[in-house]
Amino acid sequence: MIKLLVVDDEAEICDFLKAFFSDRDFDVDVAVSGETAFQKVQDFRPHVVLLDIKMGKVDGISVLRQIKEKFPQTKVIMVTALETTEKIEEAMRYGADNYITKPLSLEYLEHDVREKIANLVVKP
């Protein structure tokens, strides 16, 4: 089963993403702040992280850096409300695997997630 972690400070966004991916046989966990995100990554060891860029005190970029430092094999897809921002460039520089913009197209997102982990050997 593919393990997916959703990180977004909007609980409602976490909610529906969890509902959607759970339906599609993903093992989904959520984190509603940057502060708790890295702990979740360490505990849950996801294959893919959906990571919101703009969050309260600890933003997505610093979470990304922590993840890529400790678990470089973890795929990280950045989620952002803005397409034209240096934040995306910064994220790509720190090793983000892709980015998607809000509002989300769930089917495209699922496709993207599956594509990212296609090369990984996923243990059942």
Binding site: I13, F16, L17, G56
Partner: protein, 522 residues
């Protein structure tokens, strides 16, 4: 000296020379006859032609020294040229001293020297404003296109020559005589390119500011020491005025640069504010949109399930809530983006405050929050827009409400400072306060510490206060509550809005009255 004067002078000189020559020749004839009369009588048989020949030879030989003598005498006694030139130049230095514009100064100088004193060419070399050398600013007697081409960069031979000479006036012949053949050749070229045979360097202490370059007519040309001293003193006077003018010009340039930089900065600041706002709007509106579309998409995928109906209700509720959230953002944005002045009328600030408090009474009573009002005596009427002022009070009270928990206290004071003509509104809460690092951000658009907040309330409040030419600031210490102070200038209905706010903005925002400082909280 006018050409007519010159002609008169020349004729007078010729008559005098002729007369003197005649007297001298007759004297010569008499004397020769007296001393050598016998000898010549024997030799030439007393022929008068011989006498005339001798006299003519004498006259021809005596003419040049006589002419020189009279020229000198004319200069010294009959036509005191130097004193007249002195008068002209003295007047010129006085005029130059009060000229602050460089081109004006340069034109005045070269044209006066050229037209009044009849120097063949006159040019003024001046340190260029960018400081990369010297250029000719104005010239008389040669064409603009010619002198515009000339550039004397720092270290060029002519400047080195000026520097070496110090304040001494340079005469082409004298300079050249003291140099080797090759150097002399080079310098002759330089003097020719300047159309000059006399250069007056302009020094102020040890700073070379330029030079006056003259082509003197040959009649004046062999200048004596007196002339040179005189030119040098004149040069010193001009140098002082020129340096002042250059300083003013530099200042003017710097001022322009500063103004450009400032407007650029303002432009950038404005762009940043728009960027900041656009980023904020996109983010704030995309979040509710993401929730709406995400939930709807999930629901669509689940329509075959048994629990579908229950889910529909939940999702619809979310959609209603999130659309309201998005609409709130646009409403708030409209509040401050309104460019036309909102209609203003006479109103009483305390009644606007009371209305606002009653709007919130349900919420405050529910949470056991007390709002205490302290309104000063004899408050004058305020000219403003009720909606805007209600928004100001509402945002400040809401901000305080969100900061304090149940059982908190909010105090609102309105006073009028007669001397400053300022309304002072103070809103104090006994909440946890604002951390110092956030204090300067509270008025930024979309800055909020609450997940549900928009971060537009205080921003909009600030915009409204500024619209009235007022100021707003926050003071807070962690754990000691927060104080917001608004100062609004008294709006005189007789004065149009714009003028009143501009006039008061300068004075109003700077006022610091001890009564509104933290120590004297209401």
């Amino acid at each position: 000296m006018s050409p007519y004067d010159k002609k008169r002078k020349r004729i007078l000189k010729r008559i005098l020379v002729g007369l003197t020559l005649f007297i001298l020749s007759v004297t010569f004839l008499i004397l020769a006859n007296f001393f050598f009369g016998d000898l010549l009588a024997d030799w030439g048989d007393g022929n008068p032609v011989l006498w005339i020949c001798f006299t003519t030879i004498f006259a021809v030989l005596a003419y040049p020294p006589l002419d020189q003598l009279y020229t000198w005498l004319f200069r010294q006694i009959l036509f005191p040229r130097r004193s007249r030139i002195f008068l002209h130049l003295d007047r010129l230095t006085q005029e130059i001293a009060v000229t602050t514009d460089l081109p004006e100064l340069a034109n005045l100088l070269v044209n006066t020297l050229g037209e009044v004193l009849h120097f063949k060419t006159v040019s003024l070399l001046v340190r260029s404003p960018q400081g990369e050398g010297f250029i000719i600013t104005s010239a008389h007697g040669w064409s603009v296109t010619d002198y515009r081409k000339l550039r004397f960069p720092v270290g060029s031979p002519f400047l080195e020559l000026l520097k070496a000479a110090g304040p001494q006036v340079l005469l082409r012949e004298r300079v050249i005589r003291s140099l080797s053949w090759q150097e002399a050749n080079h310098l002759t070229g330089l003097f020719e390119s300047l159309h000059a045979n006399c250069v007056i360097p302009l020094w102020v202490k040890s700073e070379l500011v330029g030079s006056i370059n003259l082509l003197l007519p040959s009649a004046h040309y062999p200048l004596d020491e007196g002339d040179l001293r005189f030119f040098r003193d004149f040069g010193a006077e001009v140098a002082r005025s020129l340096r002042n003018t250059l300083a003013i010009q530099d200042l003017r340039l710097l001022n322009e640069e500063l103004r450009d930089a400032q407007s650029q900065l303002l432009q950038n600041a404005k762009l940043t504010a728009i960027e900041q706002l656009a980023t904020g709007i996109a983010h704030e509106i995309h979040n509710p949109l993401t929730i709406i579309s995400g939930k709807a998409q999930v629901l669509l995928l689940q329509r075959e399930r048994k629990t579908y109906d229950e889910k529909v209700e939940e999702v619809l509720k979310t959609i209603v809530k999130q659309t309201r959230r998005a609409a709130d953002i646009t409403k708030k944005l409209l509040m401050f983006s309104r460019t036309s002045a909102s209609p203003r009328e006479k109103l009483r600030l305390e009644s606007v405050l009371e209305d606002t408090i009653s709007l919130l009474s349900y919420q405050t009573s529910l949470e056991g929050i007390e709002i205490r009002k302290l309104v000063g005596q004899d408050l004058p009427d305020f000219y403003g827009n009720v909606q805007e002022l209600r928004e100001v009070f509402l945002n400040l009270i809401l901000n305080a409400l969100q900061a304090i928990g149940a059982g908190g206290l909010i105090q609102i004071g309105i006073t009028f400072q007669k001397n400053e003509k300022l309304f002072v509104i103070q809103v104090t809460d006994n909440g946890p306060g604002i951390p110092p690092e956030n204090l300067d951000k509270v008025f930024n658009p979309f800055f909020t510490t609450r997940p549900e907040g928009l971060g537009l309330g205080l921003f909009v409040t600030q915009q409204i206060v500024h619209r009235y030419g007022g100021s707003i600031r926050a003071e807070s210490e962690t754990g000691e509550g927060t104080l917001f102070v608004i100062e609004l200038p008294f709006q005189d209905p007789a004065v149009p809005n714009g003028e009143a706010s501009v006039a008061s903005e300068t004075g109003g925002s700077k006022v610091h009255d001890p009564a509104v400082s933290r120590g004297d909280r209401i």
